[in-house]
Symmetry: C2
Subunit: 167 residues, 2 copies
DNA sequence: TTAAACTTTCAATAATTATTGAAAGTTTAT
DNA sequence: ATAAACTTTCAATAATTATTGAAAGTTTAA
């Protein structure tokens, strides 16, 4: 496998994985491309490499900037805008986890809290609803806390020591 | 909020959350419905409650059984098949995490390993590709290990003690 | 063995989501 | 103030994914 094959394989795999971390294919591919680039890329560069339209590139770059994982670079003397992504995987993971928690997990926790707090009328079905949604609430809350805690740590040693502990 | 409102709210919220754990809306809604039901439900019951077609119900129940979170119950004297879901949230989380790891994370780890193992030809771009995909490989592998380890624990105490440790 | 009761399959269709491309908008140089 | 260089917006279209419903398949009872 040569450089170009490897690059294409990485970009497309990372792209199709997008759904796993809650972003779309083009967005994930753009991020992947920037992630392995040795220098900032222009919209033109990205369009060309990924064979996607200008509009698509523009919209997805905007979204990546909203997520806080891509930033504009102004290159003196150049009219075009250039883009780079966060290069530290730990930091990248931190930002993604934080955003997903905020956008998706928090709203669900809120609903679970509401639903599990309805008046217990003593019927079996109400009891079951309360019991099960409460259990789900606790689990979701705990998982969310853990993700946030783990991911907030800047150093890697803690992750390693946790792994060792629970092995 | 009365029982029916709460039930609907839970089912539809859990349904739209489906994407987060990698299953589709109908699948997630069926699971949600079973999760708060006090007794096994028939296909008829599910179709009626969720207003979805027979075919859709059948296919999604099958998928839930493939995932291992829904099982058929044979009720003596009854011709219809009845279904129940795993009621323990910890066990549910375990099964889901395991399946997602197997279906989605493992293949990505494999590709990252391949890509990061290409011949280093000494050029800057190849070096960057190797370096970055290797970092991603390590991170993904570590995260996957952690999820599996944590989720394998049957007891909750370990989760709590880990949380305490990293607070 | 037949027929009723039920489930599965799958081609057709609908719903959703992503992508394009060109017009409108913005910035910069002269 | 103008025009060239560039970016954004968004209605139209394409691609993908989910859903239906009816025909085919299966199981059970008599």
């Amino acid at each position: 496998m040569n450089y170009n094959e490897a690059k294409m394989k990485f970009v497309s795999t990372w792209g199709s994985l997008g759904t796993l971390w809650g972003i779309n294919k083009a967005m994930a591919q753009i991020q992947a491309l920037l992630f392995i680039s040795t220098k900032p890329l222009s919209m033109e560069d990205i369009m060309e490499e990924l064979k996607i339209s200008r509009g698509n590139t523009s919209m997805n770059l905007r979204q990546l900037m909203d997520w806080g994982i891509v930033t504009k670079e102004i290159i003196p003397g150049e009219r075009k805008e250039y883009f780079t992504t966060e290069k530290d995987v730990q930091e990248l993971a931190r930002v993604i986890a934080k955003e997903r928690s905020r956008r998706e997990i928090q709203p669900v926790i809120k609903v679970l809290k509401e639903v599990s707090s309805i008046q217990d009328d003593g019927t079996e079905k109400t009891r079951e609803l309360i019991k099960q949604t409460k259990a789900l609430h606790d689990l979701t809350q705990t998982a969310d806390d853990m993700i946030n805690k783990l991911v907030t740590q800047k150093q890697n040693w803690i992750t390693k020591s946790v792994l060792k502990l629970i092995k």
